[in-house]
Symmetry: C2
Subunit: 210 residues, 2 copies
């Protein structure tokens, strides 16, 4: 059986992306949690399991070992049948990859001030800083341009970039921060998707505040 290593709190958007991809493809897997805070990932590395000490990591039946969420989901798309995770048009696929890479490397003030605990544990934080407000305006502007003409999905049909964009928006929507109505509606609809709800329904332990 295919093995997926994820974070112990089920709070990593990158673990979520791979989990959703496996569900969309209908691929069976066993899931293991790694408590990054307890340095279990470093111990596991010593055992040769996690080369770069990162989750998510996917391990195939024969031991093939792969980390980094975007590398894993591209691999699933390349090798597994089932519904598409990315657009088939090269240009739309390129824009989906752009969205994924951008949301993994920009908008840091939002990611710091609205961590995913806001989404998955209903945590509440202080009002957004000036820097986070500026990042939010950039997010809204780009999302508005990207969604032009597609109210349900970025590229007319769902793809993994929709999950990433909805997650970034939901850091604000679910915290109660102001979000343009059509973008909030998009993010809320995306959260209804079956594969997303499977992730949301995972039994989360209470957050340790150590």
């Amino acid at each position: 059986m295919r093995q997926l290593y994820v974070d112990a709190q089920y709070a990593s958007p990158y673990a979520m992306s791979v989990f959703v991809a496996l569900h969309e493809k209908g691929l069976p897997f066993e899931m293991h949690t790694v408590d990054l805070g307890a340095d279990a990932h470093k111990a596991a590395t010593l055992a040769g399991t996690l080369l770069t000490q990162r989750v998510p990591t996917l391990i195939e039946d024969d031991g093939f070992n792969l980390a980094e969420s975007s590398a894993i989901t591209e691999f699933l798309e390349d090798t597994a049948a089932g519904p598409a995770l990315y657009p088939t048009s090269p240009r739309q696929r390129a824009h989906a990859r752009q969205v994924q890479a951008w949301l993994r490397s920009d908008l840091m003030p939002i990611r710091v001030e609205r961590p995913t605990e806001v989404i998955f544990f209903a945590q509440r934080r202080a009002p957004l800083s000036v820097e986070a407000e500026a990042a939010a305006q950039k997010l809204f502007s780009v999302a508005d341009t990207l969604l032009h003409g597609h109210s349900d999905d970025l590229f007319g049909e769902w793809c993994l970039a929709d999950l990433d964009l909805a997650l970034m928006l939901n850091r604000l929507v679910m915290h109660g921060d102001p979000v343009p109505a059509h973008l909030a509606a998009y993010a809320t609809r995306q959260w209804q998707r079956r594969s997303v709800r499977e992730w949301l329904a995972l039994p989360r332990p209470g957050l340790s505040l150590s």
Copy 2:
């Protein structure tokens, strides 16, 4: 003519990745620099050129606009003939993507204490902190595992992940920090590649210290 927007100092490893990819593919392009420090990218955004205010951005003849280095190089691989930028085997390709994504999101202390100005402008910095030393040890350990059995290239034939890995190693090698000899030799050989030397040969202005 295809247009490539890069940083004004020619110091971005992500701009370099796209530049090298275009050279490897033998694709003609015009290059434009954007002075991120002077906020010219924000002005350009207003003109609709840089959606996410990021370089590198590639613009095709008909206006198709694409940012994020990995999205651009995957797009070039998907759509352009010429030498391969990624391994053709799905598993090796997955590992190449893993290396690229990992080096873009981990090892932050190395990236902060050994910025690419160390490579492209021969700058010298203070000795590595304890955190950067630990990141360097992780880099060496992973590089050693990845290069097992391949002294020239990660996957037997050159790919873009070799550029990324060599660049990360060269932050240390070219600064004079201790690096295991076989890894230093790998990084130094990678720096001899024609497409890499084209980037190194770009006429760099003196660094403004404003």
